[in-house]
Subunit: 476 residues, 2 copies
Amino acid sequence: MTRLFGLLLLVEGIGLLLSTLIALISRGDDAMALSVSSILCIVPGFLAFSLTAGYKSHLPRREGFFAVVVGWIIISVMGSIPFVLSGYIPRLTDAFFETMSGFTTTGASIVENIDSFPRGLLFWRSMTHWLGGMGIIVLALSFLPGVGIGGMHLFDAESPGISIDKVSPRIYQTARRIWGVYLFFTLLEMVMLMAGGMSWFDSICHSFSTMATGGFSTKQESIAAYHSPYIEYIITLFMIIAGSNFALLFFTIIGKPSMLFKDEEFRDYLLIILGFTVLIATGLYISTDLGLEKSFRDSLFTVVSVITTTGFVTADYLTWLPVLTMLIFALFFFGASTGSTGGGIKIMRIVLLLKNSYYELRRMIHPKAVIPVRFNKHSVDTKVVNNILAFFMFYVSIFFISSIIMMIFVPDMATSMGAVASCMGNIGPGLGSVGPVFVYAHIPDFGKWFLSFLMMLGRLELLTVLILFTPSFWEK
Amino acid sequence: MTRLFGLLLLVEGIGLLLSTLIALISRGDDAMALSVSSILCIVPGFLAFSLTAGYKSHLPRREGFFAVVVGWIIISVMGSIPFVLSGYIPRLTDAFFETMSGFTTTGASIVENIDSFPRGLLFWRSMTHWLGGMGIIVLALSFLPGVGIGGMHLFDAESPGISIDKVSPRIYQTARRIWGVYLFFTLLEMVMLMAGGMSWFDSICHSFSTMATGGFSTKQESIAAYHSPYIEYIITLFMIIAGSNFALLFFTIIGKPSMLFKDEEFRDYLLIILGFTVLIATGLYISTDLGLEKSFRDSLFTVVSVITTTGFVTADYLTWLPVLTMLIFALFFFGASTGSTGGGIKIMRIVLLLKNSYYELRRMIHPKAVIPVRFNKHSVDTKVVNNILAFFMFYVSIFFISSIIMMIFVPDMATSMGAVASCMGNIGPGLGSVGPVFVYAHIPDFGKWFLSFLMMLGRLELLTVLILFTPSFWEK
């Protein structure tokens, strides 16, 4: 476990080192803060990693759950140091919120003047997204599969029928491929954004944010600041990619796109995007004078931004007709595909639960027939359905209970529910006073810590964190 | 099926006949409308019933689902006739809403001047509650058990291990007993309310409403009109009783109260009431100058009124601290016990789903162990868990989709969500402009028909109605 933490700190330290470089090149006043933070990560990280060389790298099941949660907290604390040291986000509560929001790819921010931040810090802020987004996929591959369906499905796409537990060497191969896909699309997006007139620096930062489904921007106004339909469409496209299953994206790159387009989850994902976009675009076109193209573009961008849990903003959906805002809020509970960098409940879970419910009606009509749920033409084991059910129940209950707790501190129903749904789903903007054109700065301290916790809870798919709170976990 | 409809109309006609009697005694201007309506029910009802004498009374499975839904619609249409004919609720949309609200024991009203209604109509209005409340229990016993866990559990309390399908004669015996319990508590409440100074007429009407967990009152201000702590406590007590499993109540009456108090669902039900009451009373005491007793009484009454899905009002929870209002809104999704006259999701379903989710964490720690969910010391079959899961998913999805649809007509999130949750749960008051001190009069016509449908959907536990919308239902 120490070895794992060491590795995490090393990776974080290298990210900070790169940020320091950016700071030095652009002669920012953040170079000192970033370099000190980098050393604070690299030195203990290197020591922990090298002193434990030769230790078994395989973690037992329980220690694994524990390590993931603690590791996530450690990197968030360390990652907030440059913000505090540089004085740009002086308070630890705020800096921790911002960093947790980064690593969890939430993108909720407390910064009200991001345009005045130096480049080193902006780069680091987007870098937290990028590391976190990749991290969660590697995690899904190497560890979480035993837990739920996320990684399992990711792996099954390549070799159906082989249990992930037995094929350790293959995990690394798959991880490398996924890494390649991630890097490939990040670079591709960067180039395409630069082609649209975005500066190289903004292009890197936004590509990091997009591919991680994060949402941090270098502009206070987010993507709306560019007033460029081209940039909006490009980012929409890459958000859709980032919200897809990366294993299937790999096969698309190597020339087998049919696997992606035959995938039930991917098709449902596109259908949901299409359905909501048409509904909302129609509503916007009728109720405003935006015109057809702008209504369509704003709807598509917002729907994709929310369902992929990215959180970029080109339009303030709170100013739309209430029913359109409500449609967007409903999307807060969908989430992207399994095996993507996106958060939320995820399309496959939603579809499986709805299918199972619909099949139950058929079971009532034919009580003696055995009618299993099918997904991607395979029947789904009841154990998997049960795991998804547990996940969903926890999601709904935690959403309700957390909204109530938030209302003690923020006595407004829309803001509380919006903030909780947004942070749990790793989206970013919420409702009320944490809407798309606002930030989380005014939330009281307790609320910020609480929301930070919810971000982590959502990012680690609830169960991994919740399991630490059960008595049986701590039994010998 | 014709025979069943005939029987329903006969029962309804007798109820209307009784109301006509009340109207004649109190010399109201509603006697003519009520007597005509009574004849309109009794004549076709008698014909349908007598002409089909000798027909087999057992309905096949599919016809059963169909008959329940159509029967419910027929009695609601017929029951709204006296309101229209008398001119007190001249529009059919409104009268149908009010009657459906009565039979489903919802208690949502469109009437803004109920104090000026004649006694015959008031009696009929409360009578719809009482008939609907009893009806749903008989239904649960004789038919719905095959569907879910409601009636099954009710019956199992008496004779565990015997399938309800095989014991037709016993159903009638059980139904008679349940009828006795219902009548017993209705009379007891009536006497105790009269002892508190309520008129005999108001006592009957409120006893009908309470035992059916309905919520219609003879006063526009509801129970708040009496300014009597005694009456409030008595009604609280009988609401708690009405929200309990009637089979267990039977055993309590014949001297075996231990069965009730050992029942897991009943204990959870009391614990939830206690927990929410303490939380809300504390909040009220701190934030207002109501004093300890009044804070406690208002909290207890409101919590019980909402969780039992009755909907009587002594305090306007919308004027409380937002977090307290939110706690009440959370209760909208709990509901009463299975085998009670209450609606909503029901305690047993909630507890089973939460238990199952918690057990899933234990299953993750011990992946090879088989850990079934236990309820009342018996392990619960996965089929039952799956049926409950389907119910819950439908409940949540329909709530969300319906809220969005309502927002097209009522562009206010709180009102739409409150109205939908309240009508689906058969509660009565909602949030926003359909709060405890308001009525549903201002909702546009489409919204009223839609909410009427939701009341029926909720009352028949969703699946019975939804099943009619599946293609397989209509296949040969």
